[in-house]
């Protein structure tokens, strides 16, 4: 499911980034790549704040729909 659907405090594992060249490029630049763990720090209607390792990133809803995640978490 898309990252945008998660609620505050939930963690998930990134499976895939969908979408066009620019969207994908910007997301990978900031570390959104498959196999990475994300945690939602804030989701209140506006953009999300997600923790991605040591990063904290504000992410608009459009882009958050392009990050497909798995709530089962990452294997390792």
């Amino acid at each position: 499911m898309p990252l945008a659907m998660l609620r505050k405090g939930e963690t998930a594992c990134i499976k895939e980034i969908i979408g066009g060249r620019t969207a994908k490029g910007k997301l990978t630049d900031l570390g959104f790549v498959s196999g990475k763990k994300v945690k939602i720090h804030s989701s209140s209607g506006g953009p999300l704040i997600v923790a991605l390792g040591d990063n904290r990133v504000a992410l608009g809803h459009g882009l958050a729909h392009k990050v497909m995640v798995d709530t089962e978490g990452c294997e390792s």
């Binding site: 895939e16 060249r21 620019t22 969207a23 994908k24 490029g25 910007k26 997301l27 990978t28 630049d29 900031l30 570390g31 790549v33 498959s34 196999g35 945690k39 720090h41 804030s42 209140s44 209607g45 506006g46 953009p47 704040i49 923790a51 390792g53 040591d54 990063n55 904290r56 990133v57 504000a58 992410l59 608009g60 459009g62 882009l63």
Partner: protein, 682 residues
């Protein structure tokens, strides 16, 4: 491809600082060169290339600070500046500034540079923050895995700088083989085919062929353009169709494979060279705790407004007594010098030049140094703390209703200092449409040059409510900006909607040095402006006030009086139809402080003080109407120039200048005539 060898001189080194935004490049630049470039704890502070010099032992170093970038993808103007510089290879060695506390993402950029064949030194900056998190980096191992020298620094405390100098000159002729990442058999097979085609087509240039092949497989638009330029469209097409053909057969996207393999490589490097406490990333740190409050759905915007209000309150309440002292000083000096000059037999003309022109004009402006000083002190603390990106995040709610997003708010905050950097800060926005709208509304952010006008009027006419009046003007500016952004969003263009993604750096305690650099730089700029443009205009106005020869000083018959009378009718319905007010507004376009300077000269404020003159000549309602005019009307020429150079056309500065004049007139009209109807006109 070392420049040194090309130049044949061996004691000159040209270095470039490159890396992710907010990794400490500008702090390092200042440390290396002793310059005072603007540092701030938010991504996007540096938007242009800056050059400085340093010397170490008998070496002479040229240091170039670049805007930060997360990759060579270059999605916005500032990133294009960095990418273009890095790909042309006009340097001996790149200092890749890395945030040690955030290795994996920072190394993604490092790896891209290394693949391209850039000769770099990996500078593990912010070693203090890594240490605090318990991250231990085996420098030697990391260097070995990346094939590059590694140095550890703490730029903000000047730690490791000497060592960095030593390593830099030692490696000035560095010539590393480009990094090769194994992209798996399928992609590798295609890479070698593309490389051999590139060879066959004589694609040489300065570019590493393997890297070019990888970029082409990733469909990088710049790489495709370069290929077409170098080998011609038909040969380029052959390569492109080979790639397309392979892609069809492949199971997974090559793009994805390449990205995944890159990150896998980075993960492996980190696993082998970095030790960190298990799972500590899961813990909420102090920054996260502050963020839960500051970015809260309901509290976010009120907190932001409180912060802004506190900044202005601070600027005025602390500034007011200081202004009082300076004012008293200038008034006393005016009177004293005046009688001294007359006593010494100086001609009345010279006496008037000194007292009315210099002291009345330039002095009236210089009085406001404390405000400028305090405003930038407060902005400096705000920028260094890390709150800027949070403000942008919080304001996304408002901005998205206008078709913009939160990031567009950052140039607006910068505009409170000065609109020129505000306009330039729009470079970080990646859609052209967002950029134009942000540029058009930036002058509505009330800059520090307009502050003296507000303060002098507020002090003269609204003494009990001075800070409320001034704050209301700032607020009016923001409200107008929001309305105009909405209007432009509707009428101007339907453009692509841009993506909102922005790093939130950890909160940092503002460094004394960073804040002071910012403050001195601004106060220095203010003094320089007072000594150059403001001084010249004031002298010009004084001359105009004395011509034609024999006319009574600053009377309606003087040239400036006649000129003002010509224009004054435009402002008559707004409540300030005097020639003095009209001419101050016209000359104020040269620099907004000149509004005060001009009033100082034409009211001969050197003797009685400007405030007294204003009280005698303006009603409170007319004064407020005048202030809304000053807030909103045509921006200064420096801002218009910045708009011209950022948009590369005369169209946008002309539109800005005219729409703002009309807007200002209409709003001031409503204020004045509305106030009259309500019976406030006494």
């Amino acid at each position: 491809m070392s420049l040194n060898k090309l130049r044949g001189k061996n004691n000159e080194v040209k270095l470039a600082l490159a890396g992710n935004p907010n990794s400490g490049k500008t702090t390092m630049f200042n440390e290396l060169t002793g310059s005072r470039q603007h540092v701030g704890n938010w991504p996007g502070v540096t938007v242009e290339k800056k050059t400085g010099r340093a010397s170490y032992q008998n070496y002479s170093l040229e240091v170039i600070d670049l805007p930060g970038t997360y990759s060579l993808g270059a999605y916005s103007e500032d990133e294009v500046v960095a990418r273009d510089f890095l790909t042309t290879g006009d340097y001996d060695v790149v200092l890749n500034i890395i945030n040690s506390a955030n290795l994996d993402r920072n190394l993604y950029f490092t790896v891209q540079l290394l693949e391209m064949g850039v000769d770099l030194i990996a500078v593990l900056n912010m070693a203090d923050e890594a240490e605090k998190k318990g991250i231990k980096i085996d420098k030697q191992k990391l260097g070995q895995l990346l094939g590059t020298p590694v140095v550890e620094t703490v730029a903000s405390k000047g730690r490791g700088i000497d060592n960095l100098f030593a390593e830099t000159v030692q490696h000035r002729d560095l010539s590393e083989a480009a990094l090769k990442i194994d992209y798996g058999s399928e992609v590798e097979a295609l890479i070698s085919e593309v490389v051999s085609m590139l060879k066959k087509f004589d694609f040489t240039g300065q570019i590493n062929q393997r890297w070019a092949a990888v970029k082409l497989i990733e469909h990088d638009p710049e790489a495709v353009k370069l290929l077409e330029r170098e080998v011609g469209a038909s040969k380029a097409k052959k390569i492109k169709s080979l790639i397309a053909e392979r892609e069809l057969k492949a199971e997974d996207d090559f793009d994805n494979i390449i990205i995944d393999r890159k990150y896998e490589f980075i993960n492996k490097v980190i696993a082998e060279s970095v030790q960190r406490p298990a799972e500590d990333q899961e813990l909420e740190n102090v920054s996260d705790k502050i963020d839960t409050i500051v970015t809260n759905k309901y509290l976010g915007i009120p907190i932001f407004m409180t912060v802004m209000w506190a900044i202005f309150k601070f600027t005025f309440t602390v500034g007011e007594p200081l202004i009082g002292y300076i004012e008293t000083f200038f008034e006393a000096a005016g009177g004293w010098i005046g009688s001294l000059l007359l006593g010494a037999g100086a001609s009345p003309l010279i006496t008037s030049f000194i007292t009315d022109g210099i002291i009345g004009g330039v002095g009236s402006v210089l009085v406001f140094i404390p405000n400028i000083f305090l405003l930038f002190l407060a902005i400096g603390v705000l920028e260094d703390s890390g709150y800027m990106s949070r403000a942008a995040y919080v304001m996304d709610k408002v901005m998205s209703k206008l078709g913009l997003h939160g990031k567009s708010f950052i140039p607006m905050i910068v505009g409170f200092g000065c609109n020129v950097p505000g306009v330039m800060a729009t470079r970080t926005l990646d859609s052209k449409r967002d950029r134009i709208i942000s540029i058009l509304i930036n002058p509505l952010m009330s800059c520090s040059a307009r502050l003296p006008v507000y303060v002098v009027f507020a002090g003269a006419l609204f003494s009990n409510h001075a800070s409320t009046v001034v704050f209301s003007l700032y607020a009016l500016g923001i409200v107008m900006a929001v309305i105009m952004a909405g209007v432009f969003n509707k009428i101007l263009f339907k453009g692509e909607r841009s993506h909102f993604v922005m790093e939130l750096p950890p909160y940092r305690f503002p460094t004394l040095k960073g804040v002071f650099i910012h403050m001195w730089e601004k106060v220095g700029a203010f003094l320089k402006k007072a000594g150059t443009i403001i001084f010249s205009v004031v002298v010009l106005i004084w001359v105009l006030a004395n011509l034609p020869l024999g006319v009574e000083y600053a009377s309606a018959e003087s040239l400036i009086g006649q000129f003002g009378q010509l224009i004054a009718p435009i402002f008559e319905p707004l409540g300030f139809g005097s020639w003095q007010a009209a001419s101050s507004l016209v000359f104020g376009i040269l620099a907004k402080e000149v509004v005060v300077g001009t009033l100082g000269v034409v009211y001969a404020a050197g003797e009685g003080g400007l405030r007294a003159a204003l009280t005698a000549n303006f009603s409170p309602l007319a004064a407020y109407s005048f202030l809304t005019m000053v807030l909103l009307y045509t921006p200064c020429i420096a801002t218009l120039g910045a708009i011209k150079s950022e948009t590369q056309s005369w169209k946008w500065p002309l539109i800005t200048a005219s729409y703002l004049f009309v807007l200002a007139w209409v709003v001031a009209f409503i204020v004045y005539q509305g106030g009259m109807l309500l019976g406030l006109g006494v």
